[in-house]
C-alpha cells in the first residue's frame, strides 16, 4: 500500500469521522481553494461557515455541546486571535468547572513568508490557558496519535499544523547521543531545519542529539529530559515569537528538570513578519541554528 502524505492522512481521518462517526467539520472556504491543501475530504457533514470569525468558534462549541465532536478548521493561525474566545474561555474550562468536557478539535494552520499577519504561529497562546491539549504534529503517524488522543478524551485540542508538512510521508525520530555536545529540541517546522543543522554539525565532528516535540501541552518533560541529561546544553527551537513563547517556556521546564544544564530558546524574532525576503522573519533556519549552537558551545547566549 502506498504510504500516505500528512494531508492525505488528515483527509482519511476526517472522512472516517464525518462519514462513520457522526462528526462535523466547520470552516470557512474549506470546500474551495484546494480543500485546505488537500486535507479535507469531499463528503457529508461539512459546514461552510460565513465569514464570522468570532461566532464561528461558538458554533463549533455548540456542536461539541450537542455531542458531535467537531473539527474546526482555521486556515491561518492569526484567525485564532478572533476565534479563540469560545475555545479558551468556554470549551477549555468546562471540564474543570463542570466535569463535563467540550471536545472541539481545532486545526490551526500556520505557514511562513505569507506576510505580517498570516505568517504568525501562536500555539503558545492556547498553551497558556488551562484545559487545552496543544499538539504540533508534522507526520502522518503523529497526526494519528493526535487524533486518537482527542477521541479518547473529552477536552478540546489545539492542533498547530504547518503547511510545509502536508506532503510529508516519513516519520521523524529522536536521535539521542551519550555525552552529546548539544541537544536540539524542535517544534513544528523548526524540526526540519533542526535536522539539517544537526547533519551539518555532525559532519564537523560534533555530537548532536535531536528531539522532536509534538505534544506541547501536556509536555512530556520526563521523556525530554533524558537527552539533556546526556548533553552539555540544549536549545529549544520554535517558529513563534520569542517573548512568552513556547520555546522559552519549554526551555525553562527542561532546566528545572535537569539541574545544572543550560537550555536556551531560539525562535523567530520579535519583529513583524514582512513580505520582503530580508524581513520575513521566518522559522530559524539551519544556518541560524548552527550559529546559535556555536554560541552556546562558547558559553554565550544564542540570541544576544
Amino acid at each position: 500500500m502506498e504510504q500516505l502524505t500528512l494531508a492525505q492522512t488528515i483527509q482519511e481521518i476526517t472522512r472516517d469521522h464525518l462519514e462513520n462517526h457522526n462528526g462535523l467539520l466547520f470552516g470557512q472556504c474549506v470546500t474551495a481553494v484546494g480543500w485546505v491543501n488537500g486535507s479535507v475530504p469531499d463528503c457529508r457533514n461539512i459546514v461552510e461557515l460565513p465569514m464570522t470569525d468570532v461566532a464561528g468558534a461558538g458554533f463549533a462549541v455548540g456542536a461539541a455541546l450537542a455531542g458531535r465532536r467537531p473539527i474546526f478548521v482555521l486556515r491561518f493561525q492569526d484567525f485564532f486571535t478572533l476565534n479563540c474566545n469560545q475555545i479558551i474561555h468556554y470549551a477549555a474550562i468546562s471540564k474543570e468547572l463542570h466535569h463535563q468536557g467540550v471536545p472541539v478539535f481545532v486545526r490551526c494552520i500556520g505557514t511562513d513568508a505569507a506576510g505580517p499577519v498570516h505568517s504568525i504561529m501562536l500555539h503558545n497562546i492556547p498553551m497558556y490557558f488551562p484545559g487545552l491539549k496543544v499538539y504540533a504534529p508534522m507526520t502522518p503517524g503523529e497526526y494519528r496519535e493526535t487524533w486518537n488522543d482527542f477521541m479518547n478524551d473529552d477536552i478540546p485540542m489545539f492542533v498547530s499544523e504547518h503547511r510545509s508538512a502536508y506532503q510529508m510521508k516519513e516519520e521523524l525520530h529522536d536521535h539521542i547521543e551519550d555525552n552529546a555536545d548539544i541537544v536540539l529540541y524542535g517544534i513544528s517546522d523548526a524540526r526540519t531545519q533542526m535536522l539539517l543543522a544537526a547533519e551539518k554539525l555532525r559532519e564537523e565532528g560534533l555530537k548532536v542529539s535531536t528531539v522532536h516535540i509534538m505534544k506541547l501541552k501536556p509536555l512530556d518533560v520526563g521523556r525530554l529530559t533524558d537527552a539533556i541529561n546526556k548533553a552539555k546544553a540544549g536549545i529549544v527551537i520554535d517558529n513563534g515569537f520569542p517573548i512568552c513563547g513556547a520555546a522559552r517556556d519549554i526551555a525553562y521546564q527542561l532546566m528545572v528538570k535537569a539541574p545544572g544544564k543550560k537550555v536556551y530558546a531560539l525562535s523567530s524574532e520579535d519583529h513583524v513578519k514582512c513580505f520582503n525576503p530580508a524581513q520575513q522573519n521566518r522559522t530559524p533556519d539551519s544556518v541560524k541554528i548552527i550559529g546559535a549552537v556555536r554560541k552556546v558551545l562558547k558559553g554565550e547566549c544564542p540570541h544576544d
Binding site: 468570532v54 474561555h89 468547572l97 463542570h98
Partner: protein
C-alpha cells in the same frame, strides 16, 4: 413615538382569559418560588454565607415562568442572569443552593457559581455561560445546527450588542434553525441604558435578517401565547421588556422598578377569582424556600 418601557407594551389585555387556571397558577407558582428563592439568596449574602457574586433575576422572573412551560428536555443556553430559568425548569434547588454556598454538592461542585449554570440531569439540559456575555448565542446556533433539534437561548439587551450575537442571529436564519431567542431587555447593561449604547432595536434587526420577531413587555400570559404559537420550524426572536429589581451583581437596590410584574400578575389572578390558590402558592413557596435555605 410609542413608549416602549411600559408594563403593557404590545401585551394582550385578555391574554389570561385564554389560559387554563391550572396553567396560569403553575406559572404564578414559578414566579413566586423564584422570588422567594432570591430572597433567601439575598439573606445568605447578607449573612455572608454566600460570598461569590450573585446575579439576581428578581423582577424578571415572569418570562422564565412562561417560557419553561414549553421546554421539555431541549437544550437551553443562558447567560449570567438565569436563576429563574434554573428554578423554572425544575432543576434541583438543593444543588443550586450548595453551588452558591461553594460546596462540593453544588451542581458544579461549587466551582461555577451563580453565573455559570450547568444542569444536565433529570431530563434537563441547561447550559449557562462562562463569563463572556452573549457567548451562549453562537453556541445555541451550533447546537441546533449539529443536533437538528429545537433549542432555547436567553440573553440580555447588552449581550445583544456583541458582534458575535448579531452574526449568530443571521446564521440561524440562513440555516432556518428552530431556535427561540429570548432577549431579557431590562434596559441595562450593568448601569448603562440602551439609548446610550445604540440607536437600533433588536427585534427590528432580527426582522432585517429575515427572522420573525416580537417586542413586548413581560406579561407572562401574552408570552405564553407567543411561545405556544411558535411552530419550531424557523427561528423566532422575542425581545421582552423586563424590570431588574436589584443591582447588576449583588443584592443592592438602585430605585423603584418601572413596574412590578409579580404584583400585576397577582392582581389579575385574584380578579379571576383565584385568590385562595394564590395565597396558598405564596405560603407554600415561602415555606419551601425557608426550609431549603435555613435548615
Amino acid at each position: 413615538m410609542e413608549e416602549k418601557r411600559t408594563s403593557s407594551y404590545h401585551t394582550e389585555e385578555n391574554a389570561l382569559s385564554c389560559i387554563a387556571d391550572d396553567t396560569a397558577l403553575r406559572i404564578y407558582g414559578k414566579i413566586v418560588r423564584s422570588r422567594e428563592m432570591e430572597y433567601q439568596v439575598i439573606k445568605a449574602v447578607e449573612e455572608k454565607r454566600v460570598i461569590a457574586p450573585v446575579y439576581l433575576t428578581l423582577g424578571q422572573e415572569a418570562v422564565a415562568a412562561a417560557l419553561t412551560e414549553f421546554i421539555h428536555g431541549e437544550m437551553v443556553f443562558t447567560q449570567h442572569r438565569a436563576h429563574d430559568i434554573y428554578l423554572s425548569l425544575g432543576a434541583d434547588l438543593g444543588k443550586f443552593r450548595d453551588e452558591l454556598l461553594g460546596l462540593e454538592s453544588g451542581f458544579s461542585g461549587g466551582r461555577a457559581g451563580s453565573s455559570c449554570l450547568r444542569y444536565m440531569e433529570d431530563g434537563i439540559r441547561l447550559i449557562g455561560h462562562h463569563g463572556l456575555i452573549g457567548e451562549n448565542v453562537p453556541q445555541a446556533v451550533g447546537a441546533s445546527l449539529a443536533s437538528g433539534e429545537c433549542v432555547f437561548c436567553v440573553f440580555g439587551d447588552g449581550s445583544a450588542e456583541e458582534d458575535y450575537v448579531l452574526e449568530s442571529l443571521g446564521y440561524a436564519v440562513t440555516k432556518q434553525l428552530p431556535i427561540l431567542f429570548v432577549c431579557m431587555d431590562n434596559d441595562l447593561s450593568i448601569l448603562t441604558k440602551v439609548a446610550e449604547r445604540r440607536s437600533w432595536d433588536l427585534a427590528q434587526v432580527a426582522s432585517g435578517f429575515g427572522m420573525e420577531s416580537r417586542d413586548l413587555s413581560d406579561c407572562p400570559w401574552t408570552l405564553y401565547e407567543i411561545f405556544r404559537n411558535w411552530d419550531r420550524k424557523a427561528p423566532l426572536l422575542v425581545n421582552v421588556r423586563v424590570c431588574r429589581e436589584r443591582w447588576h451583581s449583588g443584592i443592592g437596590i438602585d430605585g423603584e422598578r418601572e413596574w412590578k410584574r409579580n404584583e400585576i400578575v397577582r392582581e389579575q389572578l385574584i380578579r379571576k377569582g383565584l385568590e385562595k390558590e394564590v395565597m396558598q402558592i405564596e405560603d407554600d413557596a415561602r415555606e419551601e424556600m425557608d426550609l431549603l435555605w435555613n435548615n
